[in-house]
Amino acid sequence: MRAEGLTAMQLDALREISAIGAGHAATALSELVERTLRIEVPTIEVIPIERMPYVLGGPEDVVGAVYARLTGEIEGGLLYVATPDAVCKILELLGEECTHDPDGPDEHLAGVVVDVMGHLIRSFLAAVSAMTGLEARAAETSWAYDMAGALLEAVVLEVGARADSAVFVRTAFIDANRAVEVAMFFVPDPESLGAILTRVGLA
């Protein structure tokens, strides 16, 4: 099912599901840092998967990314992407010190980011599961810190053999001191996208 082939109502439903998922993720993050975080109203687009490497700026811009392969009744992938600055802000939210090392966070700090992002991914999926009645699990989460074009392309190649459309969510988690801008790509494979739309009565 291609992004271009979705009806306005189906697009709205996907945007709604993703917005609720992002809201749950913000709540999960608030609990983790033990203070209230607001979430900026997310911008949500459904894009053809080939466009993924081009929507975040230059292909050579460095980003940090956490990728989760999805298994269960919703298969595909989910990717969180953050600029080096946003990666630092996430670490600061968690009380870690960010060294602004050009090579990116060291193994310990990368592990911290993966844990947080993994938590956000699981909350997003739990919300999607609750709304659709479809079980969705993150099979494994992996971390990379490098050129955006190369990372997004790698994801396109892993899920792109099957998936056609990606839900592209941009939002920010805000506390008193900072706004942490994050981007997320939710890439269900075509059968899973069909199943999601069936469950919300829009197939």
């Binding site: 090579d103 971390w143 050129m147 190369a150």
Partner: protein, 172 residues
């Protein structure tokens, strides 16, 4: 209109550097150079004809088209792009026996527990196979690892510059 930022942006686009798109192929000759950006698991294939100071480059994404792929003749696939590079250079007047190849990319950007061979490795294997079939020697390569690469082929010297955040600049 002509703000400094505006001028700077215009000057930074060097008309002598030909950018090969993801899944694309291009031919150029000196004083031009060929570049392709942010190779991850993709492989950049550069062919150089020393005598003519010209060359060709591809940014391949996958080894081969599957049985069901509608556009099998696409430079996204190594199986099609490598013979196409040779064909384009021969058409422009090169002798295939005078060509030499340099390749870079084929990294694994995300560590994975998957047991299947990573796409980067399969890309490199297919590019090597296609070069062998075409009888083009592989003069240098910088493949594998876990980092992204941007490459530029200088058509006067045949040097392939490989740039990465992790390892800086290398010349092949």
């Amino acid at each position: 209109m002509n703000s400094p930022a505006h001028m700077k942006a215009r000057l930074e686009v060097d008309p002598l550097v030909v950018e090969v798109a993801v899944g694309g192929v291009c031919v150029a000759s000196h004083p031009q150079s060929l570049t392709t950006l942010a190779l991850g698991s993709c492989v950049g294939v550069a062919l150089w004809d020393e005598g003519r100071g010209c060359g060709a480059m591809a940014h391949v994404m996958l080894p081969c088209a599957s049985q069901t792929t509608p556009d099998r003749e696409s430079a996204r696939f190594a199986s099609w792009a490598v013979p196409e590079l040779v064909r384009m250079l021969v058409e422009s007047g090169s002798d295939p026996r005078s060509l030499c190849a340099k390749i870079a990319g084929g990294a694994a950007m995300f560590r994975s527990n998957s047991t299947t061979t990573p796409v980067g490795q399969r890309n490199v294997a297919e590019v090597r196979h296609q070069l062998e079939v075409a009888g083009i020697p592989l003069c240098a390569e910088d493949t594998g690892g876990g980092h992204a690469r941007t490459i530029e082929l200088h058509l006067d010297s045949g040097v392939l510059s490989v740039r990465s955040y992790r390892l800086g600049l290398r010349h092949l």
